[in-house]
Symmetry: C2
Subunit: 123 residues, 2 copies
Amino acid sequence: MARKYKHLGVRLRLVLGPDIAIGPGKVDLLEKVKETGSIAEAGRTMGMSYKRAWQLIGTMNDAFKQPVVVTSRGGASKGGATLTQFGEELLTRFRQLQRETEHVAESTLTDLKNALANGERTN
Amino acid sequence: MARKYKHLGVRLRLVLGPDIAIGPGKVDLLEKVKETGSIAEAGRTMGMSYKRAWQLIGTMNDAFKQPVVVTSRGGASKGGATLTQFGEELLTRFRQLQRETEHVAESTLTDLKNALANGERTN
């Protein structure tokens, strides 16, 4: 019945407007695009469909004045994706904020984990 | 295509274990239970079904050593729900952490809102 959570710890989402939020899914995807140079490959490493990966990138590219990712061989190609300077900035700032939030949340997270009933895996 | 977000700003979720996370939905519900003294009424003010409200409370009550809410007239009753001391503590600490996170995130949130394309409502 309960949903399963893959990543323990603090999850942060910035809701910027009624149709646009930046959270771990989009930011992880940006990071993987940076690492792999490919939206398809980035999605694949996250267990995400090609279509879904393009949707998330498209949502970000449409939401901001500047795109976060550009592709060198047109939208339908599988290769040649690069973060723009703005995309890099978005990634860096979100990661920094994530670290700061983890720092701020540390004692609460520890206390709540210690309050879990026996049998609940805390790590 | 894009999802709609009702609440702008920072959304925080503490993933404590593979089956238990504490986020805005559960915490808002605890706050409404405190205000209304009723799980049914608390759910109603949030536009949530009676069943869903009970599920969320049940997930928390099951996950922790101590319950977060107790009911005075048994599980099937619609009235007499109270936060336990632990439930109060959970609510208070999450709210505090939320405020601290909002403080830490303020400049990033402002900059990202300013980077939104024209036509995106930022408030």
